[in-house]
């Protein structure tokens, strides 16, 4: 569907939002809200935990019924788009952060500041990690609360490290150290030195954003008006990745094969979202010693990890349903909610009390050392910047295709490839 058609169709909704009444203080009559959720579209822990959250919420709020709408993450914006145009009820949506700009600017997601009383909003934000709150903000307004999110972690196979004479107690902390360790692994074993989740159709651009930023580069400027992935600092980071690929350290496989290589014990190092931790643990169990450390940096620069995952955004037009959606949002991002999300699905909590208080997961966290790098990075986490406008997917895809070609292609002209793609994507900005 053409964005202009959607925009026109949604114009009424947006106008309606501006004129919407204030949400009531409480729900006194029975109300049903929809929750577009991608965990419900999976089988296993994510769906079970989500259903558990809904059950607990409905028990605590007998007047609110939640209808879960399962949609795979890659289809969530198109589904919401179609449902809004079809006049379906869309209340709360689990939006992947790359689509947050589109959700806010084209689909009519509400800024919480517009619909929630200021005092109530401030009270709810107390105890939340400031960096985590920023993940759902655009131009200072909160369109989503981080719900299931994670950070990039360098997993490594300690058995392979020992086998080639590397010290698993001192894993690489910089890209230079990764290159050094990678050469040793390459020369003394048959294992893949370094796998990653940076490239491939389903990889998105989130991890690349963090890598480029860690060299003080970036993919787009702060006000999202100019692409910057061909600027010198970014270029240097991409060139470094190409050097790793040329040396046979960074492997060129599709994103799923890289994950499975690590899970099967065939890769020595693996840079990827902490969300895959459960999968890797299941693969490593009884097979090898899986460990994790923080995302690598460039030289003396502090790494600047960002997040993958999703936030929750409210689309309801009706004040009562806005209140019900806000109550659900508050519940799942409460200490109790994040406890379930962290323990049962494997994502990060936005409230540190969850991992620090014995009442919640302090004991559990101490038993799960792989979580530590993830928690450590929370204090300096940065947002996954969404590309602006209706072409956000095309911009990210074009950019990532160019970077992948620059890293793994036959052409040594990295600057030329990136500059051409930057010019092309600049033309796609609104």
């Amino acid at each position: 569907m053409k964005p202009i058609v959607v925009s026109a169709a949604l114009a009424g909704l947006t106008l309606g939002a501006a004129q919407a009444q204030t949400m009531p203080a409480e729900i006194t009559e029975p109300v049903t809200i929809t929750w577009y959720n991608y965990n419900l579209a999976s089988a296993g822990n994510g769906a079970d935990a989500t259903r558990h959250l809904i059950d607990l919420f409905e028990a605590a709020h007998p007047n609110i019924h939640v209808e879960g709408v399962p949609v795979p993450p890659q289809n969530i914006t198109t589904r919401v788009q179609a449902d809004l145009v079809a006049g379906q009820q869309v209340d709360l949506v689990q939006v992947t952060f790359n689509a947050l700009g589109f959700a806010a600017e084209a689909l009519g997601a509400h800024a919480l500041e517009d619909i929630v009383p200021a005092a109530e909003l401030a009270a709810n934000f107390e105890g939340m990690v400031q960096n985590g709150l920023d993940l759902g903000r655009i131009d200072g307004r909160t369109y989503a609360l981080a719900y299931t999110f994670s950070t990039p972690v360098l997993y490594y196979n300690a058995d392979i490290f020992r086998q080639v004479g590397l010290d698993p107690e001192n894993p690489p902390q910089t890209w230079a150290q990764i290159a050094e360790a990678g050469r040793v692994i390459r020369d003394h074993s048959d294992h893949i030195p370094l796998a990653s989740g940076m490239f491939g159709p389903s990889a998105g651009d989130w991890l690349m954003q963090g890598v480029l930023r860690s060299n003080n580069g970036g993919v787009i400027n702060a006000d999202r008006t100019a692409m910057t992935f061909a600027d010198p600092a970014s270029l240097e980071a991409v060139q470094m990745l190409r050097d790793l690929a040329q040396e046979g350290i960074l492997v060129n496989l599709d994103v799923t094969s890289q994950l499975e290589s690590m899970a099967a014990g065939n890769a020595a190092m693996y840079l990827q979202t902490s969300a895959v931790q459960g999968y890797l643990i299941r693969g490593a169990e009884g097979n090898y010693d899986l460990r994790a450390t923080t995302m690598p940096g460039f030289g003396d620069l502090r790494p600047r990890p960002n997040n993958s995952g999703s936030g929750l955004a409210i689309f309801s037009q009706d004040p009562a349903r806005q209140r019900a959606a806000w109550e659900l949002m508050k519940f799942v991002t409460s200490n109790e909610g994040y406890t379930i999300i962290t323990r049962d699905i494997g994502y990060l909590p936005l409230r540190m009390a969850v991992v620090e208080s014995p009442e919640y997961l302090a004991g559990w966290v101490s038993e799960h050392p792989l979580l530590q790098p993830n928690l450590q990075q929370l204090s300096y986490l940065e947002p996954w910047t969404p590309m602006p406008g209706p072409n956000y997917v095309q911009i990210a895809t074009t950019m990532m295709d160019a970077i992948e070609m620059a890293v793994f292609g036959d052409n040594d002209d990295v600057a030329g490839i990136l500059t051409a793609a930057q010019t092309q994507t600049q033309g796609l900005l609104p």
Binding site: A43, P70, A82, A86, A263, G283
Partner: protein, 288 residues
């Protein structure tokens, strides 16, 4: 005529295999065995993976050290697998029946009646075959939403009640039906309904069976339309169920392969029971 044409190349192959001299015969057999093994291997790997325990799921050994049915138990409990299989069967069977019915009626009309604009209409039907599903998905979705049919099996069936493929195939088959038979029936006083249901259709059983198999398999494998339409696993189909084991946090290969094995069984049964017709249907219609 078509059947004769189809059988024609089979004879020389059989002839050569039977009477091939010396090295040709074992070579031919060896090649066929090799191709058969290559064809069967993905199915074998699917079943093998479905029987592996979780910590061996990424193993490349061609035989599991310890087989388990845990993945089947998990697949059946994690998603409403049996319900999805029933839904898929119902949708596939109904779509097949309706497409055959509309195809027969339209095929008879186009092949037997001359009316103004027939060629134009036929061209329009043929053109719809060229429109990708993705183009009409959203308009269809809006229509289904207005009819209040979202998340129903009826909505999975509704857009597939007629297909250009079925109509064109049956028009072609009916046009090649001997005109003398039509004329004789008319002279005996038979009306169009009688001719269609008592003379044409019984004589086109082979073509209709082939078409039914193709439509059934195609509907069974449908993914995008159910993905857009269904809001609950209970009202969904098995292809959506399979996708539920593939997540951003990693693919659950064991349950996915167990569910895929279960989902393949009905289609496998069709192949086993109607092997000859299935092969003939693909040859008659080309590989869709």
């Amino acid at each position: 005529m078509t059947d004769t044409a189809l059988q024609a190349p089979a004879r020389p192959v059989a002839f050569r295999l039977r009477f091939g001299t010396g090295w040709q015969r074992p070579l031919g057999h060896g090649l066929m065995i090799l191709l058969s093994l290559l064809s069967v291997f993905p199915i074998y790997w699917m079943i093998l993976t479905s029987l592996r325990p979780e910590n061996e799921i990424l193993s490349t050994r061609i035989w599991p050290d310890a087989a388990t049915l845990d993945n089947y138990a998990y697949a059946l409990s994690a998603i409403p697998m049996l319900r999805m299989l029933v839904n898929t069967f119902v949708v596939s069977a109904v779509v097949t029946a309706i497409q055959i019915l509309t195809g027969i009626l339209a095929g008879y009309g186009f092949s037997r009646w001359r009316f103004r604009g027939a060629s134009l209409l036929m061209g329009a039907v043929a053109l719809t075959w060229l429109v990708p599903l993705q183009v009409v998905m959203i308009p269809n979705y809006l229509l289904v939403a207005r009819l209040g049919m979202i998340d129903t099996l009826g909505a999975l069936i509704l857009p597939h009640t007629a297909s250009a493929f079925a109509i064109l195939l049956l028009v072609q088959a009916m046009r090649s039906f001997p005109s003398e038979v039509y004329e004789a029936a008319r002279m005996d006083g038979a009306n169009h309904a009688h001719i269609l249901w008592h003379i044409v259709v019984p004589n086109l059983r082979g073509t209709i069976a082939s078409l039914a198999i193709l439509v059934f398999i195609s509907t069974w494998n449908e993914y995008f339309w159910p993905l857009l339409l269904t809001r609950s696993a209970q009202n969904s189909v098995v292809q959506i169920g399979l996708q539920m084991f593939i997540t951003a946090e990693g693919t659950q290969w064991g349950p996915l392969m167990a569910a895929s094995t279960l989902a393949s069984l009905p289609i496998l049964a069709i192949y086993l029971v109607l092997q000859r017709q299935v092969i003939a249907s693909f040859m008659k219609s080309g590989l869709r």
